[in-house]
Amino acid sequence: MNQNLIVKFTLLALAVSLAACGKKEGAESAASSNEIVVKIGTANPLTGTQAHLGKDNENGIRMAIDEANAKGISIGGKKAKFVLISEDDQADPRQATIVAQKMVDANVSGVIGHMNSGTTIPASRIYHDAGIVQISPSATNVTYTAQGFNTAFRVMANDAQQGKALAEFATKNLNAKKIAILDDRTAYGQGQADQFEQVAKANGGEIVAREFTSDKATDFMAVLTTIKGKKPDLLFFGGMDTQSGPMMKQIKSIGLEAKFLTGDGSSTPKFIQLGGDAAEGAYSSLPGVPTEKMPGGKAFADKFTAKYGQIQLYAPYCYDAVNIMIAAMQKAGSAAPEKYLPELGKLEYDGVTSKIRFDEKGDIKAGFVTIYQVKGGKWQPLETLGGEAAK
């Protein structure tokens, strides 16, 4: 029967689409007696909808490693040659664990990454079991450092802080009473939206709608229409710029008149590019202080832009993550994770993003959160909040 065939064909098509995966092999370890090769791994989405952010992360890391090699850093009296092993995790939690195992097999000294919370959390168990140090430049979900893994660190304020700052900004500064929340059901988007919801409620905000989409969707007309029916003053979105950018146009076209607030994943030039005129007036938050106010922000931005073009989002955090890892290795006189891990926890490092110190969980101490707004086609910083210990 034809229908049987059709069902089979559909299943086959699905199987093919799921089976697609990328691979890349790298890293050689040929070390002479007075030179050691230090392998640093990183995993980011280098293909798919978040490829522009993943590439930005990789560039930030590559810049730090190139500089370290040019400087001729020595670890334990031996000249260190840093080698970057970069893998594509496709922002997919399943792929992330495969890639993490690959890193472990390649015997990396440390991992910078992953980019997304959804990939960082499952991968962190694999790194922890292998005793490999992991510093995430950008995963903000609270769970990551709350699992009790001594190998897990991050150089960015977590969602508890960011969600709190966002919710306080929404209820106090923007005076929002009826709030709609939309998230992309990833560990990042959902986690941030949950934190936001909690604090917004505590501050007297009424949650009139809690709707969901996915991190691959482009059509939000139906959910936005439902949200419009609830007449909110403010819409919060937890997710990335590839969703929120096009979403801005759709918000405008259905005539939803609510203020738009979102987190760090949408705080990018791409958001404005995709949202066009409709992005005007949107608010976002970004952990840390604006690049131009970072201690070494201006110098970093100039160097980076000359080499790789515009900074998308997390490149400065990646750069710092590599440098603090190398600083810990130097202090311990060894690139072995078990040797430099204790040093990393104690280190105080002046990065380009801020002064970095870790608390006992591996979160950054005194994380700042800055609120931005799109004005004249650009993200303009409004105010910087926080500076208190991460919870």
Binding site: N2, A13, S253, K270, G276
Partner: protein, 308 residues
């Protein structure tokens, strides 16, 4: 009520686009009993070509947005017609007498090749589609509808009427129907079946190009991977309506669009919050499975006797 009306219109817009793509699947299936899995990618190429042309024209400046879109659309249709012709020539014609699985595999192959070519030319990122039409919101009975949405629905309706007339009233249409019934007999009666099959692919590809341009202009983005889900949804729409049946593809497309939209809008309240709006795709496919269980040949499909 106004929200319901707005959801309905959202669904009709989405459904019109699905229907256009579904027609391509159903026409090819009707004639060759082949599922052209590269069809979604043809729509993607259409969107990308239109985008490239529009950006080049805008860089020269001087033309109004609608004219730029018109030219972009025409170039995209031209490119996709050629592409459709080439795909059939290269990937399907040599396998006309091969077991049925062989052209299916080449279809999937062509789909992957097209995706990768698009990725190499236009990159892996979401590309913003220039705002060529300024969507003016219109208020109809409390619902807000833009002129772009109405344009999509009207244009799709026009194209579908034209297609029905082509198939029912013209000599080419008669040749297509004859070829669908039996290529051998049609050939004996003097129909150049190869020519008819080529034309079917070209017409289907033109429809896909239009749908691709509509999707990217409507949502304001294009992406090398956009053809996959669009193709899968449209294929499901064709199956829902009864694959091989032209009216079925239109009905299936519109139904799938409306179900998806209403599903996303009302699935939360209906299930008491157990399933959220992120289940919109699941909802659409669930309906598809239900229909196939009770009517395996689709809503308007007829049980066809297996050809000898």
């Amino acid at each position: 009520m106004d929200i319901f009306l707005q959801q309905l219109i959202n669904g009709l817009v989405l459904g019109s686009i699905y229907a256009l793509v579904a027609l391509g699947y159903t026409m090819v299936y009707g004639i060759l009993e082949l599922i052209n899995f590269a069809h979604g990618e043809v729509a993607m190429i259409g969107a990308m070509v239109c985008l490239a042309v529009a950006n080049t024209l805008l860089a020269q400046a001087g033309l109004p947005g609608a004219a730029v879109l018109g030219i972009g659309l025409l170039v995209a249709i031209g490119a996709c017609v050629l592409l459709g012709f080439a795909i059939e020539r290269v990937a399907y014609r040599p396998l006309r007498r091969a077991p049925r699985l062989a052209p299916l595999i080449t279809a999937i192959g062509v789909s992957i090749v097209l995706q990768n070519i698009a990725m190499m030319i236009w990159g892996k990122q979401y590309i913003p589609f220039p705002a060529l039409l300024t969507a003016t919101p219109l208020h109809i009975g409390g619902a807000t509808v833009t002129d772009v949405q109405i344009g999509i629905i009207l244009l799709s309706a026009l194209i579908m009427i034209a297609l029905v007339l082509l198939v029912q009233k013209t000599k080419l249409g008669r040749a297509m129907r004859a070829t669908a019934q039996s290529p051998e007999v049609a050939g004996l009666m003097g129909v150049d079946t190869n020519h008819v099959i080529s034309l079917t692919f070209m017409i289907g590809s033109a429809l896909a190009a239009i749908a691709g341009v509509m999707v990217s202009a409507y949502y304001g983005i294009a992406h090398y991977y956009m053809g996959f889900l669009l193709g899968l949804k449209a294929f499901s729409a064709a199956v829902l309506g009864g694959i091989g049946n032209i009216a079925g593809a239109m009905l299936g497309g519109l139904l799938l669009g409306v179900i998806e939209s209403l599903g996303a809008g009302y699935i939360g309240p209906l299930t008491g919050g157990v399933l959220g709006s992120n289940y919109q795709d699941v909802f659409a496919f669930f309906v598809l499975i239900l229909v196939l269980v009770f009517r395996p040949s689709g809503l308007l499909g007829e049980r066809v006797v297996e050809r000898a």
